[in-house]
Symmetry: C2
Subunit: 130 residues, 2 copies
């Protein structure tokens, strides 16, 4: 796929998450993937996202910056949301938080096969312990 | 510049840092830039990097993954180094640490004009407090 096609595909994936159509993840994610250097099944990946959504019902994936080549997408995702349960081991305080994720994806045959994610947990922790 | 040219330019910039040729930063960085949403002068940016190098004499910027388009570079930088002074507010313990930075750069006329950086501080803290 070209960089432009991969970007379009990634935007469909993000829409899928924001629409909570997790049943359709098989269109975007391989059955087996590597997540932050750990092997993971698509089911595990779905559970990870489901868990995040359960902890943060208003979780919305907003693409702040996107860079693509013919194999990778790098994205800065901006979040503004209100956790209602523990997230990344941090307890909610009822207030909205703003934080970012910098995430790289390697695609294979149009589907995500590897993910490297970094979330700004320090910023999140600072907001949740105020 | 094309994505390929921008990638080559970025690799020159990383070599410049690894060779400690900070006097040559003017070739790669605008006099005024935005760093994590804050305005910063090239002098401030140089001081930031100098400070990191002072705290971590063996700091080596290793490109783990690089994605470029005609305006941006996104890079996962892998570090394996031994802090000898406080870094990101964390005290050294004499041991080597391994951590990553996920960083996006926006170029203008071949020079860095904006940076969004996320460092895996949680991992670093876990290693330094062992």
């Amino acid at each position: 796929m070209t960089a432009r096609e991969l970007e379009a595909r990634y935007r469909q994936y993000i829409n899928c998450l924001n629409d909570r159509r997790l049943d359709e993840l098989d269109q975007f994610v391989h059955e087996e993937l590597i997540y932050n250097d750990n092997p993971m099944s698509r089911r595990d990946y779905r559970d990870l996202i489901s868990g995040d959504i359960a902890a943060i019902p208003d979780l919305f994936f907003k693409i702040g910056l996107l860079v693509a080549d013919d194999r990778h997408v790098a994205c800065r995702l901006d979040f503004h949301c209100t956790p209602t349960a523990s997230f990344l081991g941090l307890q909610p305080n009822g207030k909205a938080v703003t934080f970012s994720e910098h995430v790289f994806y390697r695609f294979r045959n149009g589907k995500i096969g590897q993910v490297w994610s970094l979330i700004d947990k320090a910023s999140l922790a600072a907001q949740l312990t105020k």
